[in-house]
């Protein structure tokens, strides 16, 4: 699963009437969450953070995408390619409840259920309940294959607020090829309508590979999303996971700059796009963390270095480790794993040959890290 971000969902420079209405609705329905979200700007000004937590409880997936960042975490990869079994202890529902409580105490307010494909998880509803939709704003990633209207209505009923749906081309054949799943484009289109009809907030997410920002197809996708009133979140292809063997996908600054210009016309954004007064730049730790199925915390979905395991280290200390790390904590405008060749090199070298990801704290990141 390649997607991020509800940070992205907050994109745009001003609060438009539609967004204001959504916030008013949330305040009415879930005042506790709305209050936490409203405090984030003040927290950031004090140097505190409120990252979205991406929860990778399961890596089970019905797709096998060309650019998947999670492929190397999947049992199918360990089994078929590495021929090993991952015997590390996996996340259970008690872990999710503890994480939800710990995050709440720190003022964090948002969870993204990701994977894998969340909608194939048999315990999806139980995970939502364990996070607690009255305590946290819950988003789910999905490839849309199983998201018909009844399922969308069910998600809304159990407390999911938002769906982030992957769409990788406006050309059906190209999307299906990128996703290695015939028929998936049609399912995404069905899922868009189902989500909107069910009253779910919706954003589309798409992967930007080198050169794509200049294409008519990409502009068509921007137009499509904007006309539908849906935000289009753009994730840069990163040289990790399945993309490790596709360095040619990695964008250049020109691609990022073209996207920045498109933001002026379309409802399109990346994780670096300023959002409602928040100018984080790269959102590692400041705006997002990932909790893997073994309770390791990584600073972004594409960086396979852990900041600590939540069974041994508190969430507060893990976040503090991230914020004092020179690569992750300081404000920067570029994507560390998508654009910074030095970090990409360090990441590639350290993860090469690794069997189990992410690399534990001390083997990838540590308190001895230096930029030079």
């Amino acid at each position: 699963m390649s997607t991020l971000h509800a940070v992205a969902a907050e994109s745009a420079s001003t609060l438009n009437p539609q967004e204001q209405a959504k916030r008013n609705d949330l305040t009415h329905r879930k005042p506790y969450i709305a209050e936490k979200l409203a405090r984030i700007t003040a927290m950031e000004e004090r140097g505190e953070i409120s990252p979205i937590i991406r929860l990778e409880k399961s890596y089970l997936c019905n797709f096998q995408c060309t650019h998947c960042s999670a492929e190397y975490y999947m049992d199918r990869h360990l089994d078929k390619v590495l021929k090993i079994v991952d015997e590390r202890r996996k996340m259970d529902l008690d872990d999710v409840r503890r994480l939800s409580d710990e995050a709440d105490r720190l003022g964090l307010a948002r969870f993204v259920i990701t994977g894998g494909e969340p909608l194939v998880m048999k315990d999806f509803d139980a995970v939502v309940a364990a996070i607690d939709p009255e305590k946290h704003y819950i988003i789910t990633d999905t490839n849309g294959w199983f998201l018909d209207l009844p399922r969308a209505q069910h998600l809304k009923a159990i407390g999911v607020e938002k769906v982030q749906l992957s769409l990788d081309s406006m050309v059906a054949e190209d999307h299906d090829k990128f996703r290695n799943k015939p028929g998936s484009y049609k399912r995404v289109m069905r899922a868009i309508d189902a989500s909107l009809d069910a009253g779910l907030n919706l954003i589309l997410s798409t992967v930007l590979v080198k050169g794509r920002a200049k294409t008519n197809e990409f502009r068509e996708m921007c137009e499509f999303a904007t006309k539908k009133g849906i935000g289009l979140y753009v994730s840069y292809a990163k040289p990790t996971g399945s993309c490790t063997n596709h360095p040619e996908f990695v964008i250049e600054k020109e691609d990022a700059d073209i996207l920045r210009e498109l933001e002026k016309t379309y409802n399109v954004f990346s994780h670096m796009t300023p959002s409602y007064g928040s100018f984080k730049g790269c959102i590692t730790v400041k705006g997002i963390i990932t909790v893997t199925s073994t309770m390791e915390v990584t600073p972004c979905p594409y960086i396979d270095f852990s900041l600590g395991n939540l069974r041994q280290t508190s969430l507060a200390e893990v976040l503090a480790r991230g914020m004092r790390n020179p690569w992750l904590g300081p404000h920067r405008p570029d994507c560390i794993i998508g654009e910074d060749p030095k970090f990409i090199q360090i990441h590639t070298e350290k993860t090469r040959g690794a069997k189990f990801l992410p690399l534990p704290w001390g083997q990838g990141f540590s308190d001895n890290d230096s930029l030079v």
Binding site: D257, R260, D334, L371
Partner: protein, 263 residues
């Protein structure tokens, strides 16, 4: 004196060396976030200043006098070994027309930022200058006493000011910028708002980079309305922005300040 033993305040790229500072600054830079040297066209800088800061009215300083005075500053720096590195780094000359500043924030908001905006738009019509700070600046900006920046406003109250702006405090915290200035030769000041705006009016492409990211540039000489809060210019793609954010006294690889050399 042996050249190798000549003390210098700047490295070969023009970065101010963070020697002996108590506040955070990175000891070394891997030179990832960098300004690119714009082409220096004295006549064009003078013309833009005349149009956008002089509001079309004749300036006391002619284009020729501006070029002569700016080149003299540069030559003086190059002739002084401890400061020669500064003049070899990225820098732009500026002309700040005479002005008596009352409220600093109000002056920025009503005169200097609009001038930056107009100069940027006239030079790069396809792109935008965006002031993200939607709130009034009146009463919010004050000159930090240790910055030496008050000398610039005093000079501007007496006549046109010619200077150079060098964004050489790469990877410094704002407190470290002020510490560093105190150790530099007396003619060097920490940049604030008027000088930075004048430099951007004259050289609107200072932040333009196609192949990499320029640093964020703090107005290091200015205190904001709260401790740990500052104001800055920053590129967003090919666009230029002005904004406010918390720096909390920290250093970042992406953050920089500028030194100003006056006559």
């Amino acid at each position: 004196m042996n050249a190798a033993k000549t003390p210098t305040f700047f490295d070969t790229h023009g970065r101010c060396l963070p020697t002996g500072l108590k506040a955070p600054a990175h000891p070394a830079s891997r030179r990832w976030f960098l300004f690119q040297q714009p082409t220096i066209d004295y006549a064009a800088i003078h013309a833009r200043t005349l149009q956008h800061l002089g509001r079309g009215q004749a300036l006391a300083t002619s284009a020729e006098a501006f070029a002569d005075r700016a080149q003299a500053i540069q030559a003086r720096l190059l002739a002084a070994p401890p400061c020669a590195g500064l003049a070899r780094g990225v820098g732009v000359p500026f002309l700040l027309p005479a002005d008596r500043i009352g409220d600093y924030g109000q002056a920025l908001e009503e005169k200097y930022l609009p001038a930056v905006s107009a100069a940027f738009k006239a030079t790069l019509p396809a792109y935008d200058f965006v002031n993200h700070h939607a709130h009034p600046l009146n009463g919010k900006l004050h000159i930090a006493s240790e910055s030496r920046h008050a000398r610039l406003t005093k000079a501007a109250s007496q006549g046109d000011v010619v200077g150079w702006l060098y964004p050489c405090l790469l990877e410094y915290s704002v407190p470290a910028m002020r510490e560093a200035i105190a150790a530099l030769p007396d003619g060097l000041l920490l940049a604030g708002g008027l000088d930075t705006c004048a430099a951007l009016v004259g050289s609107p492409c200072l932040f333009l980079r196609l192949d990499g990211y320029p640093p964020l540039l703090w107005l290091g000489a200015l205190d904001g309305e709260k401790e740990g809060i500052g104001y800055h210019f920053e590129a967003y793609g090919y666009n230029l922005t002005f904004n406010r954010r918390a720096h909390l006294g920290q250093a970042a690889e992406y953050w920089a300040g500028a030194v100003v050399a006056l006559e």
